[in-house]
Symmetry: C3
Subunit: 429 residues, 3 copies
């Protein structure tokens, strides 16, 4: 079975994965340029030192090379082999030092000795290396030479942005983050999914009800920066999802918005339930990804996060183990289908009123009734969906409410509503 | 043990069961005439062709005889043996045809080969027979002669109606349907229960708080017709139950009104719980019986359905298996007791205010306290019921609320309230 | 391990236990005098015959001696051996009678033959003795001499009261009852806990937010009397607990206020959950102790009851088995700690608003972030507590709401709020 979406996802993953990104710098720009080959992304920049609410845009960080040479002059750590080897935002350094001093700048995982951890020090000037515990154990006393060829100076923070206009100026926000170096599920999987989702919405045959805004921002500081520069646009956001950790084989996880019962929360729950696949739903908690910013009390946007294995819960999280053996295009394609299902609910959920509220409409005389029977369960469900919509088209229950109450797939209820509307039995309020 | 109610129910079941009823015609009239021997039912008619909301009263159908003769001239299907053999509302026909043509007009149940299914075609002109699968399998090629001596022409739809006036013009509706041919649990059991209930309310010694309206209508179209002709009366309905499937040995089932938390829903739940018998409670769904019409959004009446084995859930449903071996007077009598218990709650639920709201009343000085002990649990429960009512007689909690909170039988709480009221410790608000 | 609080509790238990108390009389006065050695209790009296809502203060009862002599002239029941031997409020009597007459005035427990039951007859003039079933079985026919040297005449009902003023005139009520003779868990354990709690609040270094009122009243009639004389003070009570049955080794039990969702109900539940110990929570029911009066509809105060094994649920309840082998100072000390935890929540629960509601505050630049990691779970919880408070400081969620939602100990959330307030990131509303 060849799935072109899975293939596209795999290709984009492979292209983005090796780049050394951080919250600023050329890695971000290079990544956004790759995305621009697929969608007409606007790239925006905001200068170092600019205030954004309680935060300040940091200096821009770029890195060319980094290594540690052992007492015998051989490279024992080499940035060229894995960009995780260098602590993000490490200051430039070239120095010889005894092992004891070097140890203070090394990070490793005693419990997972064969993988490299991911560390950053964005706002505290520092330098450091991350290595496999099994390599660290081999280090012997002696003089080591350390070299980080990085620069940390005035520059800018970059992000990518795309608005796909719909009938309404009210917006749906899909936000992903583009600041992690070579990690696949955390960060890049969400970027790939958002790109493919934007690509498909741009060519969608049906007219979109909402306008769709896609953000590819450095996590935290990028979302803070965008919100500080776009307070009017933020007010137009009605629904949204943070896309991250969408590419492994784990069960779906939906993290609710801070509101907890926003339409996107109900739509995501219904779409996941309708999928028939295993899932878990967790209430909002104030750490994780950029929902922290979107849901902060001053904004309190209706933004949840639809994932597979959630950050912090899979062993490879924030390590070199989060690679392209864990994340596959076919899993992203499967999650992308679920995103479409959530958006389908958001696009089509409406409240109807019956034009014939006294007693049932006589469906039979309109050819809408009679095929259903225990032997034809699909026709039976369709007829019953018509009855559900007719019975609850009272100006108070939305189609999503009805589908949830009936425990019917949203799609079946939506089609029933379309049929009743065509027969002028219900009218959208 | 001789239970006169069970005996009466059995007798009425036996009298009603054999009649061939449909949604119109002489079978309905004959059945209503039998009920009139027990209660002073008004019989009303509405002419074919009359509009009723989205529906039109159909032509009247009557049938005298029907049969199919095999190639050897012997009757292989005979309406006289079971009125289920003919599809309801079959057009008149007299014709010879090969087996292949006849087959298109035969209905049987491959999974239940020894019973006859029940089929109708009210609004689509057609004709057909229903037979046992085991008989159908014996049919051999040849010429068959088909005869249905029915008429389908302008006439009327009939229903029975009885109003038992109470102190208030506000009404409780008990609705049953009288359109099914020889089936016992579905349709007739509810008719028998409603008749016996009406009979006992008419001779009730206590003054009724509500007026009680009993309807015996053809299902769906009869309820639609009644509602279309009685919109003012419908507005006076405060509570109601659709009586059907009340006569088999199954556990009680209560189907909630569309509102879900109407007083009748709470009263039915409490009465069933107090009965100590097994039960299930299901939320409203928009198919089933005439609650579909009463609960349609334009009416949204507080009408549930109190049953035993619900339609569609027992194997004999809509077949010749739904007969007097399945349905017994003693089961109807037991369900009738539960109907009385529900109505007892509806009649007696009230909100009281304490005349002595500060601290407990001193029950002892009124002789109301002191007999209760672990050795006398009944007296203990009665004393505690007094405390419950005194503690919650705050103008906000009804007796049903209190009984539900206390998990005490409603009767005990009601008696406690009567006692406190007699001692002028509480007053009805 | 020496726990001075447990030691103090044991000493006070031993001093109070032997006294013969009832709802009036010198036993109550003697007990209050003992408490006055620990806290500056005001002792109040109200005269016999005074009306208190629906009640009347009864005559005062005192007893000096009581016994029953057998046919051989030997004392077979002796008040001096256990003050439970006499039914409380027994009228004076000196009389000879046959065994059959005496039996009508004897109480024993057939199921627990080796313990003496506790009985009273406050409002119905009577006399009686309580004995072990095993002794009763030995009684042989013959003439018995009965002597109760009691007095029942105009006098007063006494109670103890202490107000510890706080910043606000709004009050927290701690109520215990002092009317039971030698029983340890029921009545006295609560008196001891309340005394030690009052003692510690008086020397509390931190300024109290609420004023604290401690009541030591005869159960029921004492609470009724206090409420009738203190209607203005009752209106100032915002939270409260009835202290009883706090001294055995059983799991904690919290009985909710009649309101069910009052702040004290939420605070007690959180404090018990935070304790990590086994517990049960029960809804209000209108028997038990003085919460019956405080929660009566005319007052409806937010008063629950925090216990260990609840009255009526442990076998020794209302018998001589409720003694100092069942109740220990160390259990009272443990329950006292829980009372402090509940009051800590009530004292410190507040609603905050963020001064920085748009996006997260940058905790790192204030030195509040960075120490937390899976290897340092305590620091991680503290950082996350800061995020919880910042995210929900929206003028709508109290610290208790936040702690409950986060499932974090209240203390951690409170400390996080203090830290954010110090950094001017949140402000109390």
């Amino acid at each position: 079975m060849h799935d072109p979406l899975a293939h596209d996802a795999d290709a984009l993953l492979a292209e983005l994965f090796p780049i050394c990104r951080s919250i600023t710098g050329d890695g971000v720009r290079e990544s956004l340029a790759i995305l621009q080959k697929h969608i007409p992304l606007s790239v925006r920049e905001i200068a170092s030192g600019t205030r954004a609410f309680d935060w300040t845009i940091p200096d821009e960080w770029n890195i060319r090379d980094a290594w540690v040479k052992g007492p015998d002059g051989k490279k024992i750590i080499d940035f060229k082999k894995s960009n995780l080897h260098v602590v993000g935002y490490s200051m430039p350094i070239r120095k010889k030092m005894p092992l004891a001093d070097l140890q203070k700048h090394l990070n490793s995982l005693p419990d997972q000795p064969d993988i490299i951890p991911y560390k950053t020090s964005y706002y505290r000037p520092n330098w450091g290396f991350c290595i496999r515990e099994q390599e660290r154990r081999k280090l012997r006393d002696g003089t080591y030479e350390v070299r980080i060829d990085s620069s940390l100076k005035k520059g800018a923070l970059s992000w990518g942005e795309l608005l796909i206009p719909g009938e309404s100026k009210e917006e749906v926000l899909i936000s992903s983050y583009i600041c992690h170096p070579s990690m696949a599920n955390d960060s890049i999987s969400g970027v790939v999914l958002a790109t493919l989702l934007a690509k498909s919405l741009r060519v969608c045959k049906e007219k979109l009800r909402y306008s769709y805004r896609f953000l590819f921002v450095p996590e935290t500081i990028g979302a803070v920066a965008w919100l500080s520069k776009n307070r009017a646009a933020a007010k137009r956001i009605r629904h949204g999802l943070v896309a991250t950790c969408v590419g492994d084989s784990g069960a779906f996880t939906y993290k609710r918005s801070r509101r907890g019962d926003a339409p996107v929360d109900k739509a995501a729950q219904k779409a996941i339930e309708d999928s028939g696949k295993p899932y878990s739903i967790v209430d909002f908690f104030p750490w994780g990804s950029d929902e922290r910013q979107y849901c902060s009390p001053g904004f309190d946007l209706a933004i949840g996060s639809l994932m597979r294995s959630m950050y912090g819960t899979f062993p490879a999280y924030h390590t070199s183990g989060d690679d392209l053996r864990l994340v596959k295009g076919r899993f992203i394609a499967e999650t992308l289908k679920l995103y479409h299902d959530v958006l389908d609910i958001i696009e089509h959920d409406r409240i109807y009123s019956s034009c014939n509220p006294h007693c049932e409409p006589q469906l039979g005389k309109r050819g809408l009734y009679g095929a259903g029977s225990p032997d034809n369960p699909e026709a039976l469900m369709k007829e019953r969906a018509l009855l559900w919509v007719a019975a609850y088209a009272d100006g108070m229950h939305s189609l999503l409410d009805i589908a949830t109450r009936a425990r019917f797939p949203f799609r079946i209820i939506r089609e029933a509503a379309a049929s009743l509307e065509k027969h002028k039995l219900i009218i959208s309020t």
